[in-house]
C-alpha cells in the first residue's frame, strides 16, 4: 500500500517526523509481540476510536464494548499491518463495522443522536480564560453544526487521528462504499467559511 498525499501535505516539523518514526517503530514492535508497544498504540488510537464509535450513534456502554472488540480483533490481524497508516485505516474500519453490527443486532435501546455538540453545556463560570475558551468553542460549535452530517463525522474523527497526514486515506476507507467520501480538505474549507460568516468580526 502506498501513501500518496493529495495536496494536503501538512508542514513537516522535525517533531512530526520523529513522531512518525516512533509510531512506525511501535507498529513493528507490537507486531512482534511487545506488550509495551501495543500499549503505546492503545494510548494513541483509543481516543479516536471512541469518537468513531460514538459518531455512529451508539450509547456510551456499547461504544466501550465496540472499541474493546476492535482492539481484540486487531490482535489476530497485526501480522498483516505494517504501517501506522494501515493501522489507522484498519482500526477505523473495524470499529465502524462492529458499531453497525451492534446497532443492527437491535436489542439495544434506540440509538442516541450522534450530534453530541447540541448537548454541550455552556461554560458560564469565572475565569477570563475559561470564558474566552468557551466563546471560541461556541463559535466553532455553531459553525460545525452548519456542515453536512458526513463532514461533521469526518472532521470529528480526523481531529482525533494521531497523525493528521494519515487521516485522508484512513477515513476514506471508513466511509460508505461506492460513494466518493468528502475529503478532509473540503470539509475544513467549509468549516472555515462557516466560521467566517458566523463570527462576524473575526
Amino acid at each position: 500500500m502506498t501513501m500518496t498525499d493529495e495536496g494536503v501535505l501538512p508542514v513537516a516539523e522535525p517533531s512530526e517526523d520523529q513522531h512518525r518514526a516512533r509510531m512506525a517503530r511501535m507498529v513493528n514492535e507490537a507486531r512482534s509481540g511487545h506488550a509495551e508497544a501495543f500499549n503505546g498504540l492503545v494510548t494513541e488510537f483509543t481516543p479516536m476510536l471512541w469518537q468513531v464509535a460514538r459518531a455512529t450513534g451508539l450509547g456510551r456502554a456499547d461504544a466501550e464494548d465496540v472499541v474493546q472488540t476492535a482492539w481484540l480483533n486487531l490482535l489476530s490481524h497485526l501480522d498483516t499491518i505494517h504501517t501506522p497508516a494501515a493501522l489507522t485505516a484498519w482500526l477505523v474500519t473495524t470499529t465502524k463495522r462492529e458499531a453497525w453490527r451492534v446497532r443492527k443486532a437491535g436489542h439495544r435501546q434506540t440509538p442516541e443522536d450522534p450530534e453530541v455538540l447540541i448537548l454541550i453545556p455552556d461554560h458560564a463560570d469565572g475565569s477570563e480564560e475559561r470564558v474566552i475558551l468557551a466563546d471560541e468553542h461556541q463559535q466553532l460549535r455553531k459553525a460545525f453544526l452548519t456542515l453536512e452530517p458526513r463532514c461533521r463525522e469526518l472532521l470529528r474523527i480526523v481531529a482525533f487521528v494521531p497523525r493528521p497526514d494519515y487521516s485522508e486515506m484512513a477515513i476514506r476507507l471508513g466511509m460508505a462504499r461506492g460513494s466518493v467520501g468528502p475529503t478532509r480538505g473540503r470539509c475544513l474549507e467549509k468549516l472555515r467559511a462557516a466560521l467566517g460568516e458566523g463570527g462576524g468580526e473575526k
Binding site: V42, W50, V67, L72, L75, H137, A159, R192, L195, K202
Partner: protein, 168 residues
C-alpha cells in the same frame, strides 16, 4: 485571523473532548485485557453468588462466588471487614496445587494453592481485580497466541469489584 488546518482540528478535538469525553479508564481496561490475553487463558464463567451474610457483630460481610471453566471450578469467599482490604479464601476443584494470582490493574498478588486446592489472600486491596489460576509448574501458558491450548492453560475469572462496605 484565519486558523490553519492543524489549529482548526485541534479546536474540533477540544470541543468533542468536552462534549463527549472518552471514559477515563477505557485505555487502562484495554491494556488489562491485552495482558490477560497474553496468558492464553480460559475465561471462567460466573455461575453463582451466595447471599450476603451479616457477620456476628454486623460489621463484616462475606459472600461466596463460584466460577466455572472447562478445566476448573474456582470458588472464592470474600470477607469484608471495616478495613482497607479484604480477605479472600479460595478452593480449586478438582483439588490441585497451582499458582493463584490476584491481578489488579496496577499490581498483583501471588499465592500457591495447596494440594487440596485451597488458597488464601489475606490482604487484597479494594477495587477491580481478577483471579488467575496459572498452569501447573513447567507448563507456561502458550506464548505463541495461536489459540491452540495445550493440556493445561491458565484460567481467568471475569473482573470482580471488591467494594468498601459502608460501616455506620
Amino acid at each position: 485571523m484565519i486558523p490553519d488546518d492543524a489549529s482548526l482540528l485541534a479546536t474540533v478535538r477540544e470541543l468533542f473532548a468536552v462534549a463527549d469525553p472518552m471514559p477515563a479508564d477505557l485505555t487502562e481496561r484495554i491494556r488489562f485485557m491485552f495482558a490477560l490475553r497474553q496468558l492464553n487463558a480460559e475465561v471462567a464463567r460466573l455461575v453463582r453468588v451466595d447471599e450476603v451474610r451479616q457477620g456476628a457483630r454486623g460489621t463484616e460481610e462475606s459472600r461466596t462466588i463460584t466460577f466455572d471453566s472447562d478445566s476448573l471450578t474456582i470458588m472464592i469467599r470474600i470477607d469484608s471487614g471495616a478495613g482497607e482490604s479484604v480477605r479472600v479464601d479460595g478452593w480449586l476443584a478438582p483439588p490441585q496445587s497451582r499458582r493463584v494470582e490476584m491481578r489488579m490493574t496496577d499490581a498483583s498478588l501471588d499465592v500457591m494453592a495447596d494440594g487440596s486446592g485451597r488458597f488464601v489472600f489475606h490482604d487484597v486491596p479494594r477495587g477491580t481485580t481478577r483471579v488467575i489460576v496459572h498452569p501447573p509448574d513447567g507448563s507456561p501458558a502458550d506464548a505463541t497466541g495461536d489459540g491452540k491450548s495445550g493440556p493445561a492453560v491458565a484460567v481467568i475469572t471475569p473482573a470482580l469489584i471488591l467494594l468498601s462496605i459502608a460501616v455506620s
